[in-house]
Symmetry: C2
Subunit: 455 residues, 2 copies
């Protein structure tokens, strides 16, 4: 009976004969025995395979190298060793795919930098096996959260002629032969007949769907051609952008809080072994941190009040907090400490926020909200959207924005517009928070950063 | 109590007072009564709202235009009209967002071409409300199928220096200032320091994850810069590419068949009203067709046998079927008719298939398989992968392929390689099959085709 290792751990199979196929993670040989640390990747825990010299093939088995693919037939028995409750006593071991001595993933410590260079092999290590399983389960949790609540999943376009919110540098997409260009470019000859690039957001198109389905979300790749080499920036990453009609800023915060707690709890419940490993070896106290979030109360406070608290704080700031201005990382940290938990900072100065945000009656602020989470910083950013046609148009003119190609977006306010809100969450930021891994390059299978596009 | 229309239809609320927010799809006024065909997009069916001249605001309500956003307070009552079991007797109706008379989505027949031009409004029509709900639910069914079975969802990169299987024309991605280029391009100055483009497949990277997790799938956007203006081609579309280690061609067909039946059944079960509409107005017999698939047996037959059947058929072909060659649409149709159901055509001539497919012992064919579905044509294409290092290298040399940037792919055969298989399914092809809508432009929210990149 061919089984996944996960099925063996989940089942009650002591005394049963089974067959498994997978890889040798570590092979320890003794004179009369051998132990194979075996993984087929279907669960985090490895199965120990034991064989002894009563097997006629003992000598051949002894020679099997780390990294090899093997199939094993044997009997599930109680383990007397520590670290596992059951093991597989082999009656037959076959090599399916050999592995040479220069295999880079030998069972020893590797630096994360080295593993990044070997990105195609790193999911075979415990660390990345855990991280990318969490990535998969967290992605599913997001879909499940929204689908169970009747949201429609909208695939917004990646190639676009809009620069979205104007928030990010765009990559250009073209089929023109670059080596034959001279001076002014004739875009009528390009694939789409105009200049296009990779989307920095799906929000604007998302709003069009919210005006038909009430509750929608996007979950897809997003691009920024920013030349920043930090631990938290990648030029290709995944974003979730829910958009909800008939929802105001308070309602939006309810959704953000509920969703985040759901995802965190789902990962804790469905990646127990992975999270235990990450808690032990990557971020001590990780599971506690996440459980605290699930049980915490999210504070809601105005930006102005935040600045007041920061100004009154007995702290020597690197960046002086100012009314009307953005806040720095040091301020974010102080504020979540101050309130001892996640904080929604709302009603931001309009001049530092995007054109589509709802203008508050005070004439100075917009109904925007950033969620600050202890140990993660800003995890989500959202707003109520400006639903008033005249106010939106006036703001766009004030900012010298072109209406070219955005007429449809403005028209949403004309054709049965309504109050509505949405937010964006960078998926990798969430993963950094969930796994304790502190570099975005280590939560993306094949990260893209300036001058780096391997695989 | 504010409720979604879906909650009202799902609940038992007769006699209860509720509040709803949504849009006027149609407004019929009589002297003493008015009927509003009301949708909030949370379910396919509309709620009928009735109001009468006992309301002091009767005259104002009578003036509400099609397309307007409104909020309604009222009591759920049994409906005496036909077409619905309950309706909402209004006590208060407020306009949240007006809509002018030149609103393009008036309740009358619109051509699909017109609706494509108004893509941002078309989800408000019954047809597209149904199609994009099915898209969302089908996407979730795919995630659910794989996650429930322990597959890891892998996000493969979209920007890449590889041309994948060499199967499709690639878009180039750049941050170079095109109007300043002259002659030979210095890619060391480009964002990634080399020439890159948009991925045509995630399979190769997917294989690296299958070698660590055994069972993985991708589900993300894919790009083809092909200048084809057909009903089934878009330059940006979504693909699902599962990859399974320790799985041969027979095992792969088991998975393809099981997955397809699961998705179809899931959509039938979870989009009942949408499917009923599509069955009535788009493709008569759609639900029967899909139920037949769920209950059908998928035939498995060699390519060679298919050609023999075609040659022996008493049919005058436009394209003569030939051993060693691909088959045409007319042949696909004949074969699914012949076997009266879906057909896996396997073991294809190696010269017309990709380099990574497992070479069969006959030296002429590869272990590839295409799934032909009645009414859909080729829905999936897959293969067992060549696991033998020497054979893979020899084939790549034979095809004059460069190993540059593909060393890691070849190395998968060296470092514990094993037999493994995978397939690709174009998501939009599946949607065309599921909805009966015959143009790919009508199953993608904002389709991208040559010279067309609106929104």
């Amino acid at each position: 009976m061919k089984l996944d290792v996960k099925e063996i751990f989940d089942g009650d199979l002591i005394g049963k004969e089974v067959e498994v196929e997978g890889w040798v993670r570590n092979h320890r040989k003794q004179k009369e025995f051998g132990f194979i640390d075996f993984s087929d990747g279907t669960c985090f825990n490895h199965l120990q395979i034991v064989y002894d010299d009563k097997l006629s093939t003992f000598d051949e088995i002894s020679k099997i190298k780390n990294g090899s693919a093997i199939s094993v037939v044997g009997t599930i028995v109680k383990s007397e060793g520590k670290g596992q409750s059951i093991e597989l006593k082999a009656s037959d071991v076959k090599v399916l795919g050999d592995c040479p001595d220069d295999y880079p993933m030998q069972p020893k410590h590797h630096t994360r930098e080295f593993l990044r260079e070997q990105a195609y092999l790193r999911p075979r290590t415990n660390l990345f096996q855990a991280v990318f399983r969490v990535r998969s389960v967290a992605a599913y949790a997001i879909h499940k959260y929204f689908q169970d609540r009747g949201y429609v999943y909208a695939h917004t376009p990646l190639i676009t002629a809009n620069d979205g919110e104007g928030a990010g540098q765009m990559f250009q997409v073209t089929t023109l032969p670059l080596d034959k260009l001279k001076g002014e470019v004739d875009y009528s000859k390009d694939f789409y007949g105009k200049k296009v690039g990779l989307a920095v957001t799906g929000q604007l198109e998302g709003e069009t769907f919210a005006m038909a389905y009430k509750k929608i979300y996007t979950f897809g790749p997003t691009f920024r051609a920013e030349n920043s080499n930090t631990k938290t920036h990648a030029s290709e990453f995944w974003m979730i952008e829910p958009e909800i009609a008939f929802c105001d800023l308070e309602g939006l915060m309810d959704i953000e809080e509920d969703m985040l707690k759901y995802i965190v709890k789902y990962v804790l419940d469905n990646c127990k072994d992975e999270m235990k490993f990450l808690d032990s070896f990557v971020e001590k106290g990780l599971i506690d941190k996440l459980n605290r979030l699930v049980n915490s109360h999210f504070t809601r406070v105005d930006h102005e009040e935040v600045i007041k608290i920061l100004k009154e704080a007995d702290v020597k700031w690197e960046f002086e907090p100012e009314y009307g201005e953005d806040i720095a990382k040091e301020h974010e940290k102080y504020i979540t400490d101050y309130f001892n938990g996640p904080v929604f900072i709302k009603n931001w100065p309009k001049d530092i926020k995007a054109f589509y945000m709802k203008q508050n009656p005070d004439g100075k602020t917009v109904a925007a909200v950033d969620l600050e989470v202890p140990g993660a910083g800003e995890l989500m950013g959202g707003s109520e959207r400006e639903a008033d046609y005249d106010k939106l148009v006036a703001r766009m003119k004030e900012l010298n924005m072109s209406f070219d190609g955005l007429d449809w977006y403005v028209n949403l306010r004309k054709f049965g517009g309504c109050y509505h809100s949405g937010f964006g969450m960078g998926f990798e930021r969430l993963l950094i928070y969930l796994t304790g891994v502190d570099n975005i390059r280590d939560v993306i299978p094949y990260p893209r950063t300036p001058l780096n596009c391997e695989y």
